[in-house]
């Protein structure tokens, strides 16, 4: 199923994307690409549509109109097998969303087994490898409830990585964490970025955006207001709305 994906096509291409929630237009014409190996941070005030945009990319939200191409495949085409495309896209949620009834190992194994059809041995090996990557090898048999928020989020990242995704989406991955646990998650994300993973990250972590992102996209009111290298957008923004947002963040 995944072999017919065109690997040479850009990971994400979005064309004239609109999304309504009832009468409310939360995305008002988004055009936006992410290229191979690029790390893009999406910033903006709450209600700006950045999370909705991210969730449209793996079709957790159904776009109202427009097109989204994942590695050249139009996921807005009703003929597209979205489940197959989703295996190419790792997703990390604000609330971690680990499966509480399964141990860490089973959390990491279940989609490998049921979606990719990997044998248990192979799935276990890959799960252990990914756990080591996020530094949690000793938690393999724990249940998620026994882990700290930071550990849970690292397991969630490992779970996504087990599917060998071509790109990763992060939806405010550190917003639900106590301040002292944010660093360990950002470290894992930084390592991923350095390893060449294509990443689209909704975040309020300015430091992370400044250091790790190749590009920062500022959204407000359902449109992209400005984008560019982090140093430019974060330190020398051209739009008044961006400046206002950055001032408000700094005061926090």
């Amino acid at each position: 199923m995944t072999t017919d994906l065109k690997k040479d096509a850009p990971p994400i291409q979005i064309r004239n994307l609109h999304k309504y929630f009832g009468e409310l237009e939360v995305l008002r014409g988004i055009d936006f690409d992410v290229s191979f190996g690029e790390v893009v941070c999406l910033l903006g005030p709450s209600g700006s549509g950045k999370s909705t945009l991210l969730r449209c990319v793996n079709k957790l939200e159904e776009p109202t109109s427009g097109h989204i191409f994942i590695e050249g495949i139009d996921i807005t085409d009703p003929e597209t097998d979205v489940d197959a495309v989703r295996t190419r896209i790792g997703m990390v949620f604000q609330q971690f969303n680990l499966f509480p009834h399964l141990t860490v190992l089973r959390n990491l194994r279940i989609a490998q087994r049921k979606v990719l059809g990997r044998a248990t041995d192979e799935a276990t090996r890959i799960a252990e490898e990914m756990l080591e990557r996020v530094g949690l090898s000793d938690k393999v048999n724990e249940h998620p409830a026994r882990l700290s928020g930071g550990q849970q989020q690292r397991v969630a990242i490992a779970r996504a990585l087990c599917m060998n995704p071509d790109m990763m989406l992060f939806d405010e991955p550190t917003s639900a964490l106590d301040p002292e646990l944010i660093g360990e998650v950002l470290d894992v994300m930084r390592e991923l970025a350095e390893g060449g993973m294509t990443m689209l990250v909704v975040t309020h972590e300015m430091g992370f955006a400044l250091q790790v992102a190749d590009r920062v996209v500022f959204m407000d009111g359902g449109v992209i207001v400005e984008q560019g290298p982090p140093s430019q957008v974060l330190q020398n923004p051209t739009h008044e709305r961006t400046r206002k947002f950055l001032r408000a963040i700094e005061i926090e």
Binding site: N58, L60, D83, A84, R86, T87, I89, G90, M91, F93, Q95, N97, L98, F99, P100, H101, I110, A111, K114, V115, L116, A156, R159, A160, M163
Partner: protein
């Protein structure tokens, strides 16, 4: 009078009324007759072992069959009620409201007698009792469907989203992620449902039975009539309690454990 003194007086007089009531009952009751009519050991001993090997066994078997049938029905109904296809939702809602609104006895008689009259060719294994079991399962399905639906809805939305974003189909996510969590939530209410069902099999006393197919209530009632004595019903009541009380106790333990886990 001081407030505390008054409260003490009220308390003492409440105890007084209680002691007086119990005492009067103990004095006036015809204990010999009560013992003879409800606790006749000879009649009680006569009921064994049939009450366990036949009657209790049948009660448990009818309950198990009705519960299994009802559970499968309930699972389908719950998923229908959560379906995005409106006619499925309407169908499920109609079914659930209909069979929760009717007395179970009406449904049982309907399936056991009215349908065979209408369609004489149709035969269900187990005769009237097999049909009664199906009738009871139909009712149980309506109640359990609401329990299962509530359990599925109690699983956070993010669980389905996480499963789908890993590439799982809706059915795979439901089977391996949502339902296992939902069932953990609904084990206590489902066990309650089982207790209700055990008691509801007593409604089968209206169905024609052979000696081998009697459940507890019918067994006790027939003996009561033939011996002209209430003891068989007392023994039957005790056997019911021996089955239901451990289950109720289990439910309250499970509920405490779930509450502690939160």
């Amino acid at each position: 009078m001081k407030r505390s003194t008054r409260q003490k007086l009220i308390r003492y007089s409440l105890y007084g009324v209680l002691i007086l009531g119990v005492g009067l009952f103990a004095l006036l009751a015809d204990w010999a007759r009560i013992a003879r009519s409800f606790f006749n050991l000879e009649i009680a001993a006569d009921m064994f072992p049939e009450i366990l090997t036949t009657a209790a066994r049948n009660t448990i078997m009818y309950t198990a069959l009705a519960f299994t049938f009802g559970f499968i029905l309930a699972l389908v109904l719950a998923l229908m009620k959560l379906s995005s296809i409106k006619p499925y939702r309407w169908l499920a809602i109609t079914y659930i409201e209909l069979f929760r609104g009717l007395p179970a006895l009406v449904t049982i008689i309907f399936v056991a007698f009215a349908i065979p009259i209408a369609f004489p060719g149709v035969s269900i294994p187990g005769g009237a009792l097999g049909q009664g079991t199906i009738g009871l399962g139909i009712v149980a399905g309506a109640y359990m469907a609401e329990t299962i639906r509530a359990g599925i809805e109690a699983v956070p939305r993010g669980q389905m989203e996480a499963a789908r974003s890993l590439g799982m189909s809706w059915a795979t996510a439901m089977t391996y992620i949502i339902l296992p969590q939902a069932f953990r939530i609904i084990i206590p209410p489902l066990t309650n449902e089982l207790v209700l069902l055990i008691k509801d099999t007593s409604l089968f006393f209206v169905l024609g039975t052979t000696p081998a197919s009697k459940e507890l209530t019918k067994f006790g009632r027939d003996l009561m009539n033939s011996k002209f004595n209430g003891t068989p019903l007392t023994v039957v009541a005790l056997v019911y309690l021996a089955i239901t009380l451990p289950l109720t106790w289990l439910v309250s333990r499970l509920e405490k454990r779930t509450a502690a886990a939160r």
